[in-house]
Symmetry: C2
Subunit: 199 residues, 2 copies
């Protein structure tokens, strides 16, 4: 096998670690990047590294944020009596695309999964309970994926939160079972929000 020029070899090696990028795609990308003006490559590299460095988790909801508090949590026009619980920040973006929802979020950073040894203490649940303790929140919508782990997580949260006198709802099964929330279309997600029912 021909040893490619070292820097290109390195690019291919790093790029092919990314999800969905195989060796052949990584090679195409590397050769493209090498032919780009240095300034454009610098902009790309900086977007990746500085972007990663500037991102932190919102100290309230756990969503990605630049500031200690994310844009949604610090937005006074959002409805503070309702919290939508999702698995990860990508799902916040998916819910926001609906534009029907004006409440707050809480990101669990995972779902319960005994198979993967992920229990309640591995998820961002304790801070959710803290948020509920002052009585301002009237409803928690659990919008985890409609699969086994998502359902188990929803049931677990319902058992935990109901005694706190907060209504717990689950998004309706407008979203096709077994699919991924991130890829649901806006209309389906809107339907799912609309048809939510108490757990």
């Amino acid at each position: 096998m021909y040893e490619q020029v070292k820097p290109i070899e390195l690019m291919v090696q790093e790029l092919s670690k990314l999800p969905g990028i195989g060796k052949k795609s990584a090679q195409r990308l590397a050769y493209h990047i090498v032919s780009m003006p240095v300034e454009n490559v610098r902009r790309l590299a900086n977007a990746l590294l500085e972007g990663r460095q500037n991102i932190r988790f919102c100290e309230v909801c756990g969503n990605y944020s630049v500031e200690p508090k994310c844009d949604i949590c610090s937005n006074d026009s959002r409805n503070r009596s309702i919290i939508c619980v999702v698995r990860d920040p990508r799902d916040v973006a998916a819910m926001e695309r609906v534009q029907d929802y004006k409440g707050l979020y809480h990101v669990l950073h995972g779902v319960l999964s005994p198979m993967d040894n992920i229990g309640p203490s591995d998820l961002n649940i304790r801070s959710l309970l803290t948020r509920l303790s002052d009585g301002e929140v009237k409803e928690v919508i659990v919008a985890t994926n409609p699969d086994i782990e998502g359902e188990a997580t929803a049931s677990y949260l319902a058992r935990l939160i109901k005694p706190m006198d907060v209504k717990v709802t689950r998004i309706a099964y407008g979203v096709p079972i077994g699919s991924d929330l991130e890829y649901a279309d806006e209309v389906t997600l809107a339907k799912a929000l609309e048809g939510r029912r108490e757990i």
Copy 2:
């Protein structure tokens, strides 16, 4: 449309400029990169930027190189009496995978294309003629793609080089017409080399 967190927005913007990466893939990649350890993102970003900065063109053949002279040009065990002319550095990598060829290369950085206003002066041809002037080179294999521009470039080079008493050959039509050299398999490329004929 929901405004994603600024750094992620920027990542998506830069990533989706790359060939073959659409908006949706760019988003997946950005969310993945944000979840990677900072050290790994730094390694990726450095591979891209430093790689791009360290790469230059070999002053002899025009291939990608770290040193002024590329590894192939400075390798004493290569056959210096034969030069294989290709369109771009990717094609050098493709030819090298054959492992049958032990001569040198010359990278044109394009092919003649009147439609795109690319004429002989836009290609790395002058330095090829310089390389041929000392009489050491006995044969030039033109391995441009077997399409209209590649053929036109081959004919042009043949007319130019033949008077210099250097044999000019064309790789055989083992490579399927209209395809891309980069994606030819090793056996086909080997056959193409083997069956080369004088122009």
